[in-house]
Structures are given as C-alpha cells and as structure tokens.
C-alpha cells in the first residue's frame, strides 16, 4: 500500500514528458530491498553457496591429485553417483550406520536433555545455577577431548569399564574389544554424543518450560491429572516449537558426526563396518585422493538432511495451522 503511494508521483509525473526515466525510477524502487539485503547475501553467498556449489561441481568429476596440480576439470557425468548408489557398502554399512545411529542418538539426547530440564525447573535458583554450571562443562568440552575420555573409559586393557566388569566377574581376563563390533562401537559413540549434546537440549527446553504459565499446570492438577499426563498434555503441546528446533538441530548434528567416529580405534578406515557418511566422505576424499567420489557422498548427505528438515518443518507448520 505504502509502496504504491510512494511510487505514484514519481511514476506519473515524468510519464507525460520523458517516459525514458520511468524505468530507472521503478527499478530503483524494486532494487532497494535487494540493495539493503546485498551485504548479507554476499556474505552468505561467499561463505555458504560457493563451497556448496564447488562440492556439487566436484561431485560430477573424476577429480584427483593431478587435477589439483593442473587445475583441469575432468568431468565424468554422473559416474560417481552411479557408482555410489550401486555400491552395496552404501546400503549395508554407511546408510544404516548414519541413519540408525542418528535416530537413536537424537531420541536419547532429546529425552535425556528434557529430563534434565524438568529437574532444573524444580530446583531452587542456587542449586539450579550450580547444576547448569556442571552441565555446561560437558557442553564446553571439545569433541576431540571428550572422545578420548570415552576411549579411555572403554580402554580394552586398562579402562574403568573393563576393570569394573572384570571385578564383577562378567568378563574374563582377556577382556572385550568394544571397538571392533559395530554395535558396541556405536554404543560408545552414542554415549559420547549424548554427553556432548544434552546440555544444549536441557538449556533450550528449560527456557521453554519457564515460559509456561504456572496456572496451566495447576488447573490440570486440580482436574486430577497425574504428572505423566500433565507432561504429555500440558507441557509438550505448549512448547512444541522448542522441541522441533531442538530435534532438527540434533538431527543435523548427529547425521554429520565426524570426530567422534574418526578418532575411535578403527574408526578412521581400518574397520570398514563402522564408517558413517561423514567419515566415509573424508576417507574417500583425503586419504584416497578421490575428491569427486568424496564430494558425491557429501552431496548425498546434504540432500538427505534437506529432505528430513523439509518434512519436519512441514509437519510442524501443519500442526500449527490445525490448532
């Protein structure tokens, strides 16, 4: 409305005498928002779209060390994708490792984080500050450090878990190598990820919990709702968007887990059955100098994440509209 009001005098006045000037004036009007957006778009374009575009461009090439030196592209059409999608390793190892692990890790992280948030809500301010402080330590720990701590905890010969289980008589003197089996390997990765990821969930959900009016819970209590019912029918629907954000972000993080797998014994390639998409892409690109194939894996991972995010957001908005 305001736009039309603004443009009219400018557009009509020169219309009779010099129609040539109309276009620039209109263009200027149209260009103004884009001009204002330009700095932000330039930064996003430079930092996000350029690398993304380059990865897509690389994924259609047979790109190796000699191409890096010569700078010559070497297109092979969709051969990388064809080889990737027909590789049984993708379907039997990399994809299940990535998806099953992400589903388990996201559910566990969100559940545990929410429990911690509920605990925090019921604490007095002093204790709450203290507990949040402790929780933050887990969050602040760098991924590499945290991973090595978990490796030591599960060290086959001298780890605390081995000593404990041995003392209880559950395992023999030769011990168990947790890192060679896919399931136990990912169980340790999951523990590591939950440990590193729950503080974010806890703090974010706590922020949501504190916005829920106290009366809602009290009303439900008077109606005879149990704690379980109050949580599912009052708390969860009220802060559903918070859960959505937390879940989407956790999903994205857990799909592209890298250091927590790569640094584990056997995780950098010698144990082929434990690689996920991120590590697989890295090993293909940098250990084997097959940058084209590595990029194709990365593009596939990005597409998967985009699809998941779109489905999530649509489900979320549809529910919002229904209410």
């Amino acid at each position: 409305m305001s736009r039309r009001l603004l443009t009219r005098p400018v557009a009509t006045a020169p219309d009779r005498r010099r129609p040539v000037l109309v276009l620039p004036a209109r263009l200027r009007q149209r260009a103004r928002p884009w001009l204002l957006l330009a700095p932000a778009l330039a930064v996003i374009g430079g930092l996000l779209c350029y690398p993304l575009g380059r990865v897509v461009w690389l994924s259609f090439q047979d790109y190796g060390l000699d191409n890096i030196v010569s700078g010559r592209p070497d297109y092979n059409g969709g051969a990388n994708y064809l080889r990737l999608l027909s590789d049984p390793y993708l379907w039997s190892v990399a994809l299940p490792n990535t998806i099953v692990f992400a589903v388990v890790a996201v559910c566990a992280t969100v559940a545990f984080g929410t429990l911690v948030a509920l605990l925090l809500r019921s604490l007095r301010p002093l204790w709450r500050t203290w507990v949040i402080g402790c929780v933050m330590v887990a969050w602040a720990m760098p991924a590499v450090t945290g991973t090595y701590v978990w490796i030591w905890i599960f060290d086959v010969d001298r780890g605390i878990v081995r000593q404990l289980l041995h003392a209880l008589g559950l395992i023999g003197p030769e011990g168990v190598n947790w890192f060679t089996e896919r399931l136990s390997f990912y169980a340790i990765v999951t523990l590591n990820i939950i440990h590193h990821g729950f503080p974010f969930v806890a703090v974010t959900v706590l922020a949501g919990l504190l916005t829920i009016p106290r009366e809602l819970g009290e009303a439900a209590l008077l109606d005879g709702a149990t704690a379980w019912q109050r949580f599912w029918h009052v708390t969860v629907p009220t802060i559903r968007p918070v859960f959505a954000v937390v879940t989407i972000l956790s999903t994205i993080w857990d799909f592209k887990v890298f250091a927590q797998v790569y640094l584990m014994p056997g995780g950098s390639g010698s144990n082929a059955e434990v690689l996920n998409f991120g590590v697989w892409s890295y090993v293909r690109s940098f250990a084997q100098q097959n940058y084209g194939m590595g990029s194709a894996i990365a593009v596939l991972l990005t597409l998967m994440l985009l699809a998941i995010t779109v489905v999530y957001l649509r489900a979320l908005f549809r529910e919002e509209e229904l209410r």
């Binding site: 030196v69 060290d155 056997g266 390639g269 010698s270 100098q289």
Partner: protein, 423 residues
C-alpha cells in the same frame, strides 16, 4: 606485410625481450631466500640443527633459508593444498611413499641429472624415490623396524633371542605364561609394518606388476597366507597378544612399551630414544634383534624414511639443490642420524654411524642392510595406504569376523582394484 604490422611485430618482440630479461633479473633477486619444509616430530632438536645448517648455507651462498616445521600427521594434506594453491616450498622433506605420488602429479623437479652417481645410496630408498625411471627424491634418512625387547624380562626367565619363528613363538608363549599383566608380543590390527615382515618372511608379497603394467596382488598367495596365519595365530591361538591390540596402532605399542606393559614388539630404530624419554626407568633394560626368518636368517622389514625433494615451481632450483647437497653432506647426515636415531641415506654413512651409536641400534642396522624391503613403488600406493587395506584385513581376522583366507582374498581384490585404477 604492411609497415604498421612490421612495427607492431617489432614492438611485441621488444616487449617480450624486455619482459623476459625482467623475469631473469627477477629470478636472480628472488633467489636469495629458500622456503624449506621439514617434518615435525622426527627429532625434538630439529630447530637448533637447522639454524646451524641455515647459517652455514647463508655463509656459502648468501641466501637465507626459512625452515617451516610441518607435523607428520598434517603433512600430506598440507602438501596437497600447497600444490593446489601454488604455494609449494623450494625444498621439502617428503615421506618415501609419497614421492612417486607427488612426482606423478607433476609437483616435483626431476633430479636425475643432478644426483649423478647413485651407487652410494641405500638401494631400497633410492628406488622409492623413482618414478618412470627418473629420480625425484634424494634419500635423506632411513627408518627400519626390528624387534625391541626387555632384557630384564628375558634374563629373569632365562630366555635367549629367538632365531626362527618357532623360537619366537616359544619365547612369547613363555613370557605370556610366566608374567602377569604383561603383553608378551602384541599383534596390532592397525599397523601394516608389523604384519609385512611375516608376509615377506614366508615368501609372500603385496603386489607385483606385469610387463604390460597390470598389478597382481600376492597377498592371497599360499606363502602370504602362511605368514598372515602365523602372525594372527600368535594372538588367536598362542594368546601372546592382548584383545586391545586388535585396534592398536604403532603409537599404542610404543606407549604401552614405555609404560612397561610390553615384553617385546616390532618397533622402529627411533623408538628406544622416545621410550627412554617417556620412562627413564627402562634405561639399560632395552635390547633388540633383527626379525628372525621362518627357518633362521632374517625376515625382511619395511625400509621407510624420507627423501629430500626440490619442487617444480621453485624460483631457484640451483640453490635448492645446493641446500639438498649440504643437508646430505656426511657431517650433517651423521648429526641428524644421532639426533633422530634414524639411519643416514648413504651406505658408508650408515657404517660410520653404527660404529659409534648405541648398541641397541646395531641390530636395526643389520635388519636394514641384510633384510630391508620396500613396498610397491607406484603413485597409487598412497591410496592403498589411505584405504588401510592391510589393516582392515588383519583387524577382521583378529576380531573373528573373517578367516585368513577370506580376509586375504578380499584384500587382494581391493589392492588390485586400487593399483590398476586410472590415476
């Protein structure tokens, strides 16, 4: 030809001459500084060593040297990035298995004519620096692995150094039975160079190339399988290793040896010094012997180490070569060997070094001269290492996921596929 054309042609040629001579003078003025990359982690005293070498070089030639230390772990990526971005150094230390790869990529200068007579160098290392019959790397130092053991443990149990594979197994079994909480002989699942002596000792090999250039893997031959079986059975049947070693790398062996948890293991000549630095209590308790052969003699061990290479886009190839010559000169080569406990790259320097070095290093010299061996020299070998084909094979056997036969056949397929792939 019209007069105007003649004029412009003359102008162009003048311009070309001027710019060409400008380039030439530019070369001369830029050639007063050399960029040199040296791997970090080989020797803790490298900085003092290089400031001395650089000072002498400046005195000789007037050119300054900027030495940059690059950690081994990042080095390959850093080289690749530098090659891509055209920010390569003039001279660099290059790991021996990388030299053919970078040479094929066109990043290294052909040094064949400069090196001249090559008879003095360690043959295996010289070969590793060769690509399509041209030399791209000058042997600088050699690393070899033999067996390092605890003399105190051997003395307590009345054991002698084993001379063949049966004795090696018996020795390890005795240690495993008689000691508590000590790994007699770790069988690591993530260390290819601990496996190879047994493959080679049994008469097997990784891969060989036919006259037509096709690679065939020998890792699934009956000889190789016998070696792999002996090696993995030490863990699975004789129980002289530990479950944890299934995922051990060489650094884990060294750490555990330094902690006093390991009685004997395949380790490099650079390990004793590092172990004593970590745990001085082991002083005087370290001994070594060359890896025995199945029926006596020796099993071959991998000859690793580093080359010195000149990069193709160096402004000052002559100066760069002078620097390489200075570093490989007898006195500096010997000092570098003393500091790193790697061996120098020339046979005669090795002999001099071995006479004066710590006695624990002498069996390593024997191992190197009597039974040192290289891996297949091809640019694709780096990819094979990146794929960790041999480690995957050993780990799957140790974890009980595959039989020796199945794992070896799978590894042979992978090796042939990778080595025969178009670059």
């Amino acid at each position: 030809m019209s007069p105007a054309r003649v004029l412009s042609a003359a102008a162009v040629s003048t311009a070309l001459t001027v710019s060409a001579s400008a380039c030439a003078t530019g070369d001369f003025s830029e050639a007063t500084a050399l960029d040199v990359w040296i791997m970090e982690g080989t020797s803790p005293g490298a900085e003092a060593f290089f400031s001395e070498v650089s000072a002498e070089f400046e005195q000789q030639t007037g050119a300054t040297v900027n030495v940059q230390f690059v950690p081994w772990a990042d080095a390959h990526n850093k080289f690749v990035t530098a090659i891509a971005g055209g920010t390569m150094p003039d001279v660099a230390e290059v790991g021996t298995t990388w030299t053919p790869e970078f040479a094929q990529a066109g990043a290294l200068a052909d040094l064949t004519d400069r090196v001249g007579d090559t008879s003095g160098y360690v043959p295996g290392l010289l070969e590793a620096g060769t690509f399509e019959d041209r030399r791209y790397g000058v042997p600088w130092y050699v690393g070899v692995r033999a067996i390092l053991y605890r003399t105190d443990v051997f003395a307590d149990l009345g054991l002698d150094q084993p001379r063949d594979w049966d004795e090696l197994r018996e020795t390890a079994t005795t240690i495993a039975e008689e000691t508590d909480d000590m790994v007699a002989f770790p069988v690591p699942g993530n260390a290819e160079y601990s496996l190879l002596p047994f493959v080679w000792g049994a008469g097997g090999h990784i891969a060989s190339q036919s006259d037509r250039g096709v690679w065939t893997s020998g890792i699934d031959s009956s000889e190789s399988r016998a070696g792999i079986t002996y090696f993995t059975d030490l863990a699975l049947a004789d129980k002289v290793s530990t479950t944890g070693a299934t995922t051990w790398q060489e650094t884990d062996i060294q750490d555990n040896f330094a902690d006093g948890n390991v009685a004997m293991a395949i380790m490099g000549s650079w390990s004793p010094k590092a172990i004593l630095a970590d745990n001085p209590d082991l002083e005087g308790k370290l001994g070594s012997f060359a890896i025995p052969g199945p029926e006596g003699g020796y099993s071959p061990s991998f000859l690793g180490g580093a080359h010195l290479s000149v990069f193709n886009d160096s402004d000052a190839p002559d100066l760069s070569w002078q620097f390489v010559e200075l570093l490989t000169r007898d006195d500096y080569a010997l000092r570098w060997a003393e500091e790193t406990t790697y061996f120098p790259g020339k046979q005669q320097q090795i002999d001099t070094f071995t006479e004066t070095a710590d006695p624990v290093l002498r069996p390593f010299a024997t191992q190197m001269t009597e039974a040192g061996r290289g891996v297949p020299v091809t640019p694709a070998y780096g990819k094979l290492q990146g794929e960790k084909v041999l480690q995957t094979m050993v780990q799957s056997i140790l974890a009980g996921d595959a039989s020796v036969e199945a794992a070896a056949i799978a590894a042979a397929d992978d090796i042939e596929q990778t080595l025969n792939e178009d670059p």
